[in-house]
C-alpha cells in the first residue's frame, strides 16, 4: 500500500465520527524506484491532506526531509516535488495494518494489499 492511497482512506467502523487518518502499523516496508512524473505529483498535491501525509511518512520512519507544511509555488519546485513523489509512490507498506484512530479496529495489509472489509456484525 502506498502512502498516496493511505492519504485517501478512512475508517468506516459503525458509529465513529473521526476515522481519518488511519494509523499505520507496518511490519514490512519496501522502497521501490518509480519513474518521477512532476505533473502527476503537482496535480495530486491539492487533493492531499498534507499533515496526514507527513504524519504517515513519520510513522513509517521514511519522512526524511519532507517539510511539515506545503511550500509555496511547489509546481515549479522540482526538488520538492521529488520528495513528495518518493513519499507518495515509492514507499510501500507490504505487511502490517491500518488502525481506526477512534475504535482501534485494525484493517490488515498483506502482500501490499489492504483489506478494508468489515465483518457481518460490524456493519
Amino acid at each position: 500500500m502506498k502512502l498516496l492511497t493511505h492519504n485517501m482512506l478512512t475508517s468506516h467502523v459503525k458509529g465513529i465520527t473521526k476515522g481519518y487518518p488511519l494509523l499505520i502499523k507496518a511490519t514490512e516496508v519496501k522502497v521501490n524506484e518509480v519513474a518521477f512524473n512532476p505533473q502527476f505529483v503537482s496535480r495530486m498535491i491539492p487533493k492531499l491532506e498534507w499533515h496526514a501525509l507527513v504524519q504517515a511518512a513519520d510513522e513509517l520512519g521514511h519522512r526524511q526531509d519532507l517539510p511539515g507544511d506545503l511550500v509555496p509555488n511547489y509546481e515549479e519546485n522540482e526538488e520538492f516535488l521529488k520528495k513528495v513523489h518518493r513519499v507518495l509512490l515509492e514507499v510501500e507498506v507490504i505487511e502490517g495494518c491500518l488502525q481506526c484512530p477512534e475504535s482501534g479496529r485494525e484493517f490488515p495489509i498483506s502482500r501490499g494489499i489492504p483489506n478494508m472489509l468489515l465483518n457481518e456484525d460490524e456493519v
Binding site: K2, H12, Y20, P108, M116
Partner: protein, 464 residues
Amino acid sequence: MAIIAGRPCLQYLLHLAHGSLDFRLPEIKALLAIRGKPFNPGDNFKEKSPFWCLNDVSEEDICRIMERSVCAKSAFELWGYGKTHSELKTSLLRYPSENMAPFMHKDSTYKINVYTFNKTLKIAERIKRIDALEYLPFEGVVNLNSPQHVFSLIEDYGTNPNNIPEHPDNIYFGRWIADGQRELIRSHSVKNRHFIGNTSMEAGLSFIMANHAKVEEHDLVFDPFVGTGSLLVACSHFGAYVCGSDIDYNTIHGKGRSSRKNQKWRGPDENIRANLRQYGTESLYVDVMVSDASKPVWREAALFDAIITDPPYGIRESTRRTGSHKDGKPPDGIYAESHVPVSQSYHLSDIFNDLLNFSAHHLVLGGRLVYWLPVYRPEYCEEMIPLHPCLQLISNCEQTLSSHTSRRLITMEKIKEPEELDSLVHLSDPRFSPYQGHNAFREKYFSGVNKRSGKEDNKAVNGE
C-alpha cells in the same frame, strides 16, 4: 477542403472500423473534447457510414485523436469528394494548389492507394483508377515501398453486402495522415495476458471505455469492481495512474482457480500488478484493495479524474456486499484473513445508485463515470438509465449479448458538487422504480436459456 464555398480551413476524413457502431461517435466526440474541439461533421453526415468528414480541426488534433482511437482505422486530409468520378475531378481541381504543393514537388516520393468499401476490385481496375488521376499535378516520383506521402482514392459502395451497387455512392481522395490504434486489440488481447478472470473485459472495449472517459496522462483513475484489472491496463496505457478495489479477496490477491481451460490454479505471477508489468505500465500502478464498493472507505473529497468500471451483473460473478444475515448469527472463532464476510445480496439497482452517488462525491468536476449497465431488452426503456443531479448523461451505447439481453455502456460527467440531500434524491425519482425491474435481471437472463442440466439450475439458485 474547398468543396463548401467560403470555408477556409481543411476538412479531414475518418475511416472507421465497421464494428461496435454505437460506440464510435461517443469515442470520437470524447477524443475531440480532450482537444477542446467540437464535433462538426460535414454535410450529409451519416453516423452508420464508415466515412466521416470533420470540420474545424487541425492536423495536430487529428494526430492526437488517432493516437487514441480504437474505432477509427485511418485519417486523411480530404482533398476532393464527389458522387461520381467526374464530380471528384471537379472537386479536386478546385482544391487550392498551394495546399497541394508541399506534397507534390519534384523531390518528393509518393504512392496512391485505391480502397473500396463493400466491393472488391481487380488489380487492373485499381490501376485504371490511379491512371485516371493524371490531372493531379504530381511532380514527385512514385515509390511503392517507402513513400514520403501516401494518398488514397476511396470508393464507398454502401453498407449493404447483399446489394452492392455498380457505381460507388461516394468517392473521396485524400492525403493519409495517421492510422488508429486497432493494433491494441491484438497486442493487449486477453488471450495473452498473465492474469485473467471469467469476466475480464476484452481489449478493444476496455480502450474504448478509457476513451469515453476522456482519460488523460497524469490522471488518477479508480475502478471499484476491478476484478483482474483489464480496465486499469487500458487506462494506464494512456498514461493514467490507476487504482482499484474488489470485494473478492482471491481475485485481488490473484489466488484461486484459473479461468484458463488448461490450467487448474493461478500461478504466482497472476495479479493485477503483474498485468501492468506485462505491458510496461507498472510505474502507474497505485494500489488495489479488498473492499466493498457500497461502503465509504474513501475520504470525502474529489479524488478521481475518472471512474471506469464493469459492475457484476449477478450472472457469472455474484453481486455481493457485506452485511448481516437477517436470520443467522456470525460464526464463532477467529476469522481467517481471507474470510469474506459477505452474505447480503446486492440488488442491482442499489449497485448503480451507490456507484452514481460515489461518483458524484469523488469525481473531480468535469470528471467522467463510465460503466456497463445490464439490460433485459424486452423491457428496456430509456427512463431506466439511473440518473443523479450532479451527473450529466453523455452517452448510452448498446452491445447485444443475446436475443433478450444486452449491456449498455453509460458515460456520465460530473457537472456540479453534491449537496446534502442529493444522495437521497433517487428515492423519490420515478426512475428508481422502473429500474427495480433490473433486480430480476438474473431471472430474466436465465428464463431465456434452455435448462441444460440440474447442476446449472442449482448454481443459479445458490447465487453464482
